[in-house]
Subunit: 360 residues, 4 copies
């Protein structure tokens, strides 16, 4: 099987770098095109990029010449780490031009016919690609989004609890600085400090979560019918978003029943065999003081969600803690898993990975 | 007016040091006796103490010889920064011996006849001293506690809202490492990390808060009749406990009305004129991203509580953020303010400060 | 005595804010004019300023309307927290217009006729004002600089050792993030990290230090004849620059003799009585593990330098550690002390503080 | 090839855990015995261990029952993460009993007949095993030490420069908190702080470095004849010891020549093919601001040393920065590499790995 060359938009930024890093040695894809701002276009990626992750720019991409955002791209599959403003129109233009755009940008997440995809949770939302293609007259193009990095662990932890009837959710987050990109949070703002505000994230959490937990009805997603209150905070942690969650469940299950439900949770086969899918989407940690941001963010190569401290909540019934790696599972890693799901379902007509498909 | 010599129990520990620091240059009290463990007893305080606060041991106490805990103390007023085990029986023994013990230890806080005092909130709980003296046959002794350092900002922020009918409270804390004393939290556990657990604090928050917000009925305190759910977290911050609070209020006040209520909140006169009372017990900060741990913990010399981000909560109706300095207002500073209130009400028969008294 | 209204250039930046904070309640000066970028000009200081220090914008300046840098200023005394580019020509223009400019900018520090002033060390360099006025034809104007924030503790610690013949100095710094201004160092660059590079600072240390330790010969400063090697590092600390210093002394004094020299070091009378002068310019700390950035940066209200760990160096003979608060003593606080010295020597013809003067 | 079961002494501590982690999936060795304090002996490793590294106790060891230190061990190869006091006599006893002890403890490092081994640098010091066996009458036992975690990057960076004639070395370290073990450094001591002191490390650096860089003369090691001055500091970094080094070289090579020397440096074949040997023992990083603690500590799986910022030093001629992972290459990882070298040279008579040997 020949690997598929892909393009990365916003490749020089923090999330763009995470795409580059995770695509290094990917079994299906390789980075063929890197796209940056007009400032960096025309220069070698390795020279123009201020690499903020560990180590250095991978050898395989350092000599790629950065292309401008308004140019032409050869790759049928495009990953977007664009900032909001740049993403808004360009991502749709690229879909019009026939590209499949897997985007981390928030701006196109809530379009009714764009899947907001977390494969283990809502892989059948993928069929919105058919809806959008029909509605917009796209033949090969598509836009598929991954969610906000703080909504992500909430959705992952709550999905297995939907069977118990979720009615109310209160989330208080503690978000790592990498969630704000680079340069992002000033060190003077966060050393020995905590900021009880993350611009825009409370609103995103209160909408994206319910959409992702919703059901695809053949033409659109019916949102989960529950109330959600989110309070977002920034903490002096490099990577890893931790959430304290209280939840009301109408079926009133026992604590052990919930833990068993989490422990037994597996991705559907269509997802479980994808290259980036973690063996365990969820871990329930029995220790009294886990999950912890630094010690658990890399579980499942940063693709698993860790849960702990399930106990009774005197107000809503249940409370617990969940944690995910915000720039891997909560951003680039999720977009890559989404692209694997898309490819394995034949949506990229020039590329067919050798993976057995399950029907959606 | 001659100053009153006081004793500090557990003087070499982190909270003990905060007592020493705050009593330096106090207008009514001076440190006459420092009491430590058997390991440090008999040695000069300045030599045996590993001073963990800024700067060095104050000159005025460095030559005091540390006394053993089981010895005799001359001071009628005793501040206790003892650990739980040491506090349990010794504090009561000292009260039996005629001392007034203002304690930061958790172990004696929930005795029904011991005031759990936050003067701006419940200064009339002070009358429990009369109750305990009568019940226990104490003439001059007493035990008066200050609260858990995380319950404290919750209580301070909620007191002005009691008029609106508080029924449900959800608190998620982000607590500084100084709350765990010294050596306390290992740096390997907290650098670039967050720990979603603080031993014992959730239970303390769920009980102490309701007791402090309760009403003294002449013989005991009737607790506030509300439900409270607490989730406690440790963050890499030196000082300052921040809480995200959601609250249900039966009267359904407007947001502006609540802010006005907080802004207009003042201590009763009996408290407002005490030396350690802050001019403003509460500040409501209008900025979208405040209060912040480092930038607001020292408001009012560490004795004020800062509140911000009041907004609607889709579940409970209201949510906001509050912050206090945990080792000043949440520990030693509160105990000193409590002692000032006690002294100003004539409970120390050998010391009468020159302050106009209000009737309770 | 009526206070003198002063202007602060670059008032909205991090060092500008420190000027505003330190001038609040200053006995001689008050902030009459705040000057900012074209973006902020015309707007109230309290609204346009993102206050990054503790607490909030002082009440006394929050309603001042920010003036543009190219406008006219009434204040004879101007403090400059301008960035390099803006400072280069504007500071000299203001001196031409008759203002005395006390600047923290690096760009004008090394002009041969501009004093680079650290009052306890080289207060007689002040006479360069006479030299510059004569040379440039200025009647009332002047430019006086304070030094680089890392050179400052080096100079302060070495001044008392000049008597022993300093020949070689090796400095390795650990600099706080506030030294880079705001937003300055990105949190992703410094959390759980150390950066062995601070742009420009090694070169500044290797020149400014020797100039400040030099002698005014009546027309210019003869630099200290010594070799200096500097290595600059950024560490995850909010405030406080710590330096490890090795030094060669030709007189070969004993360790105790050096400690005594430091302990006995006092500012000359002309400096010691100034409002911002610390009682002790230097503290020698006897503890084995001091000075420490957080615990010692506020010594003398941030105006004292703390020294510790003097011991033999197998290569240069002596080594020790020094620490100063980089945005107080190393920036705004030093500029204010410089201005006090200038005023007390009659250089501001419209303002004469009531302080006994010593002859230089 | 059957794997060799090994024992880990002090297995429940921070360095012991690193041994366990690095031996998981090792191609030659597996952990057969875990040895702990009397407190933990008799209990399952997974239950008694407070795992402080990322993730959790590996499945393969969690059910091993912790053995007491004074018991009998079956494994011929023993790794020791014992504290100094426990190590002093027990390690020698075990060698007397026929075990080969690869130790991270400082206490036995400077015995004249115990190799202090950093394989890429001084692999022929291994022959001290023959010396010690003859001298002490040991048949199969031996004690082999790895060095202090801060001396390690100094030695690694200087080894290739020995050809230029090293005469003077000044080292200023910035050491991670993991170097102090667990609980080790209190968070109150290091958050927003720097401590210019690490107990014992300056003395260790000034001796171990010269011994490791010395030559084995057939019976003992002739130390490198150079002067070394070390200043040790603790910084708020989890892992990674960074050193600023100035060095005097008699041959006066050009900067490019030194960089080429580092870049071309390779381990001798006897070392390069060992399982834990990094492909590149040294990396020279061209960026102006590297190496950085967090971003470069994991180079070569934590086994490579990163160097950067080579430039002229006005005092000693040359200065640069070096960085290594202190608990991998500077502790457990080095001990494991040492053991691989020992095994591959036939010192463990019951175990012969399939690796081509080079003559020493």
């Amino acid at each position: 099987m020949q690997k598929l060359g892909v393009a990365v938009l916003g490749a020089t930024g923090a999330v763009g770098q995470r795409f580059i890093q995770l695509l290094e040695n990917h079994p299906w894809f390789y980075v063929a095109e890197v796209i940056g701002s007009s400032r960096s276009a025309g220069q070698p990626y390795g020279e123009i990029t201020n690499w903020v992750l560990d180590g250095s720019v991978p050898k395989s991409v350092e000599h790629l010449i950065v292309k401008p955002l308004d140019g032409h791209f050869d790759s049928p599959l495009v990953f977007s780490a664009l900032p909001k403003e740049a993403a808004e129109t360009r991502e749709v233009e690229l879909a019009v031009d026939g590209h499949i755009v897997c985007t981390n940008a928030s701006v196109n997440r809530m379009e009714e016919d764009f899947p907001l995809l977390l494969p283990e949770v809502n892989f059948n939302h993928l069929k919105l690609i058919d809806v959008q293609r029909e509605k917009r007259g796209w033949k090969t193009g598509a836009v598929v989004a991954n969610s906000n990095c703080t909504a992500m662990p909430v959705v992952m932890a709550l999905e297995p609890l939907k069977q118990f009837g979720i009615t109310k959710i209160i989330v208080v987050s503690a978000q790592a600085v990498s969630g704000a990109g680079y340069p992002g949070v000033a060190s003077l703002d966060i050393l020995d400090n905590m900021i009880p505000y993350v611009s825009g994230d409370e609103q995103k959490l209160e909408t994206e979560t319910l959409r992702m937990l919703g059901s695809f009805n053949g033409t659109k997603v019916d949102w989960l019918d529950a109330k959600l209150s989110a309070s977002c905070n920034r903490v002096p942690v490099v990577d890893g978003h931790l959430v304290n969650i209280s939840v009301e469940l109408t079926a009133n299950p026992g604590l052990d029943e919930i833990i068993t439900t989490w422990t037994n949770f597996r991705a559907p086969d269509a997802v479980a065999n994808l290259p980036s899918a973690p063996k365990h989407p969820l871990y329930y940690l029995p220790q009294i003081d886990r999950p912890q941001s630094r010690r658990d963010r890399n579980a499942g190569n940063g693709m698993s969600t860790s849960i702990g401290r399930l106990r009774e909540c005197p107000i809503l019934g249940y409370k617990f803690v969940a944690l995910s790696h915000n720039t891997i599972r909560g951003a680039a890693g999720c977009s890559i898993l989404n692209a694997e799901l898309i490819a394995s379902h034949g949506y990229i007509d020039t590329f067919q990975p050798k993976t057995a498909l399950s029907a959606i």
